[in-house]
């Protein structure tokens, strides 16, 4: 994203006329606010930004911006975003998802998007539940979470998205909290400006099915250490933290994947001959 300071834009310039239908109290309102504040601060024109999503509460977000957007199929937001960025490298591509869409249905895309390191930003609004479909446990749900739909809890080890991102090659890894929209805007700005695949996990409480997440507000704290460029060190820190460290945790310098060809393609006739029996 090229910062364009000459035109002063407001966060409201990036909002559409569509009214969000999230539950009042949902953390995703703050994420939308952080996103639009970040874009306004960067000055990037809305028509130079694409917001891509999958399915779920959080994935409604493209409709609430007046950037270009694509509300895609479940779990496939990263495939859409990757294709778009390869075809239109001039655009700022933000892929927005939730923990179910991003880590379960879209889990495989997540791994390979990290590995490819295309220059886009992946934001996952993590509330540790499938809110849209009435509260089923998601990949990041605590195994002990007892609910009507999972009596006694799932007993399944939670997915650890930040470590998975590091191990798979993401070039920027951060954690944010929706209740800190200005700090989240700063982290998103850093993520967008960093070359390559940037992954930001935003803790975004679900007031309806996980009301206890209101406590996150008092549990989050700034990461006590500076970001590192050593993925092993970053992984150790993340694996041993309390899950509430907020900030940029890793900045890498892997080469960014683009659509450039390393050599001219073979003529069609050559390919036809190779398939001839």
């Amino acid at each position: 994203m090229n910062e364009q300071a000459t035109i002063k834009r407001k966060a409201s310039d990036y909002k559409s006329e569509v009214k969000p239908v999230w539950c009042p109290g949902c953390g995703d309102y703050h994420v939308l606010l952080a996103l639009t504040r970040m874009l306004a601060a960067s000055g990037t024109p809305p028509e130079d930004v694409a917001v891509i999503s999958g399915i779920g509460c959080s994935s409604r977000i493209p409709a609430y911006t007046n950037c270009y957007g694509f509300h895609g199929v479940h779990g496939r937001a990263l495939a859409l975003g990757t294709g778009l960025k390869i075809a239109r490298p001039d655009l700022t591509v933000l892929v927005m998802s939730g923990d179910g869409d991003g880590f379960s249905i879209g889990g495989n895309h997540f791994l390979h998007a990290c590995r490819r390191n295309v220059d886009l930003t992946y934001v996952v609004m993590d509330n540790q539940v499938y809110g849209m479909t009435k509260g089923q446990p998601s990949p990041t749900t605590d195994p002990e979470w007892d609910s009507a739909l999972a009596p006694g809890g799932t007993g399944i080890r939670p997915f650890h998205p930040l470590v998975i991102a590091l191990a798979s090659g993401a070039n920027f890894v951060a954690r944010a909290f929706s209740g800190q929209p200005n700090e989240t805007a700063r982290i998103l700005h850093e993520a967008v400006m960093h070359p390559g695949f940037s992954f930001v996990q935003v803790l975004s409480p679900c007031v309806t099915f996980r009301p206890e997440q209101a406590e996150w507000k008092s549990q989050v704290h700034p990461a006590p250490v500076e970001p590192t460029d050593d993925p092993a060190r970053a992984a150790r820190r993340i694996m041993t933290d309390d899950g509430f460290n907020i900030g940029i945790l890793y900045r890498g310098d892997r080469p960014v994947l683009t659509a450039r060809a390393t050599r001219d393609p073979a003529p069609v006739e050559t390919l036809e001959r190779s398939f001839a029996t």
Binding site: A5, K8, A11, S12, K19, P20, V21, W22, C23, P24, G25, C26, G27, Y29, H30, L33, R37, M38, A40, A41, K134, G135, S147, A148, L149, G179, Q180, P181, N182, E183, A185, R186, H189, P205, V207, T208, F209, P211, A214, K217
Partner: protein
């Protein structure tokens, strides 16, 4: 978080000039207006029209205050501050009602109490600067803003008092949370 004398000094020391203070004052009103409009839309979406009207009323007031500040500082260039570089004590500007505190079943009293808390935070913000800023011009501006916020506090308190001592009947929630079956 326990507030300390050091906190009070820090916030005044961080805001270093009258233009910076005015930029913060304007941001406070703009954020509050934006937040009330957003909350009003949420209430309309969830058919709580009484509260939607109340939030729109507050948004209108905040818009007026923002406009007054803009007019008064028309000749004064303000610094361009990124959202994350404002010097708030909390996560957001003080007069913005926290999204996380609002539910679609919210009552008039609860909505007014949220507004009251927001006005008190704004009063506190300016009051701290007025108390410890070294620049007399900054102190004068901050004291003036604090007095305006104090007036808003009195206004909201008066509205709450008009509701009477009786707590309203709980609002029926046709789609109660955390009961998926």
């Amino acid at each position: 978080m326990t507030e300390t004398v050091e906190d009070r000094t820090d916030i005044a020391a961080d805001i270093e000039s009258v233009p910076e203070l005015l930029a913060h004052a304007l941001r406070i009103e703009e954020d509050a207006e934006e937040r009330y409009l957003s909350l009003a839309e949420q209430m309309e979406t969830h058919h709580n029209n009484e509260i939607a009207r109340l939030f729109r009323w507050f948004a209108g007031h905040e818009a007026e205050h923002a406009q007054e500040i803009r007019e008064r500082m028309a000749c004064m260039p303000l610094p361009d501050i990124k959202p994350w570089d404002y010097k708030w004590q909390g996560a957001e500007s003080p007069e913005a009602v926290d999204y996380a505190e609002v539910r679609y079943t919210i009552s008039v009293r609860e909505a007014l109490e949220l507004a009251l808390a927001a006005e008190k935070r704004a009063f506190d913000f300016f009051g701290r600067i007025a108390a410890v800023a070294k620049d007399p011009e900054m102190r004068r501006w901050a004291a003036e803003f604090a007095e305006e916020e104090a007036e808003h506090v009195r206004l909201v308190e008066k509205e709450i008092a008009r509701l009477g001592p009786e707590a309203p009947a709980p609002v029926e929630d046709p789609d109660p949370p955390n009961e998926p079956l």
